[in-house]
C-alpha cells in the first residue's frame, strides 16, 4: 500500500511537472498571431525548438509509465479516480510556479472538476 501511495505521488507530480514545463515552453515560444496554418506551423517550429518542451515530454512519459505500473498493482477503479488529484496539484503548480492568478471561483471550479472526474472514472 505504501509502495502504491509513493508511486501515485510520483505519478501525479511528474505528470503535473511535465505539463507545467510544456506550458512554460509554449509561453516562451510565443503565441501565434492568428490561427492560420502558416502562423501555427511557425509556432510549432518554435515550440519544438524550446528546451522546456523537451523537459516536459520525458516527465510526462515517466508519468505514463508509472500509470501502467500502478494499473498492474491496483484496481483501475482506484488508480484512475486517484489520478484526478492531478487537477489540484497542477493548479497549485500553475499558481506558485507559473504565477497564474488562481482566484476563488477558479479554485471552486477545479475542485468540482476533480471530484466529478473521480466519480466518472470510478464508473
Amino acid at each position: 500500500m505504501i509502495r502504491s501511495a509513493i508511486t501515485l505521488g510520483i505519478f501525479v507530480l511528474s505528470g503535473s511537472a511535465g505539463e507545467l514545463a510544456v506550458t512554460h515552453g509554449m509561453k516562451k515560444a510565443g503565441a501565434p498571431e492568428h490561427l492560420r496554418i502558416r502562423d501555427v506551423t511557425n509556432f510549432l517550429g518554435r515550440a519544438f525548438c524550446n528546451g522546456w518542451f523537451w523537459v516536459g515530454v520525458p516527465l510526462m512519459a515517466l508519468s505514463f509509465y508509472l500509470l501502467m505500473v500502478l494499473l498492474s498493482w491496483e484496481p483501475i477503479s482506484l488508480v484512475i479516480p486517484a489520478s484526478a488529484l492531478s487537477y489540484v496539484v497542477g493548479t497549485l503548480g500553475a499558481k506558485y510556479i507559473l504565477k497564474e492568478d488562481v482566484n476563488g471561483i477558479r479554485w471552486a471550479g477545479v475542485f468540482l472538476v476533480c471530484i466529478g472526474v473521480a466519480i466518472v472514472a470510478a464508473g
Binding site: 505539463e19 510565443g30 497542477g90 500553475a94 497564474e100 492568478d101 477545479v110 472538476v113 466529478g116 472526474v117
Partner: protein, 141 residues
C-alpha cells in the same frame, strides 16, 4: 470585438478542438484496437499487434486526431493559463458519456451523471474567470 472577448472566443474554440480531437481519437483507437483483437504479451503477439495496428486505417485516423489534440493543446497553452485550460478540457469526460448514450446506446448510472454534472458546473465556474492572467511573450511577425 474587444481583445478580452476575442481571447475568450479563441480559447473556447481551441478547447473545443482539444475535446473533439481527444474524444474522437480515443474512440477510434478503441475501435481500431478491437478490430486488431486481444494483444498477446509475447514477442510474436506484440509484433502481430503492432503490424495489425500499423495497417489499420482506423488507427491511423485515430493517430491523426490525437496529433490534432496535441497541436491544439500546445497552441492554446501559448496564450491561455494552464489552470484554465486543464479543467476546461475535462469536458471530454462529459462528451464521452454523451457519445456513449446518444450514439452507442449505453446505459449510464445515476452516479456517473452526478460526476458529469459536477464537471460541467466546474468547467462553467472556470469559464467565468479570465483565460489569461500570466504574462505571454509577443512574437514579432
Amino acid at each position: 470585438m474587444s481583445n478580452e472577448r476575442k481571447l475568450r472566443v479563441k480559447t473556447l474554440v481551441m478547447v473545443l478542438a482539444m475535446v473533439v480531437c481527444a474524444t474522437t481519437g480515443d474512440s477510434l483507437l478503441k475501435r481500431g484496437m478491437s478490430q486488431v483483437g486481444p494483444v498477446s504479451l509475447t514477442q510474436t503477439g506484440l509484433f502481430q499487434a503492432f503490424r495489425g495496428a500499423m495497417t489499420s486505417g482506423t488507427i491511423w485516423f485515430a493517430i491523426l486526431f490525437l496529433i490534432g489534440f496535441m497541436i491544439s493543446n500546445m497552441t492554446v497553452l501559448s496564450w491561455a493559463d494552464y489552470s484554465y485550460v486543464m479543467p476546461a478540457s475535462a469536458m471530454g469526460y462529459a462528451a464521452v458519456t454523451l457519445v456513449g448514450v446518444v450514439f452507442l446506446g449505453e446505459t449510464v448510472s445515476p452516479r456517473r451523471w452526478v460526476g458529469v454534472a459536477l464537471i460541467c458546473l466546474g468547467v462553467f465556474l472556470v469559464g467565468q474567470t479570465k483565460p489569461r492572467t500570466s504574462t505571454v511573450m509577443e512574437v514579432a511577425q
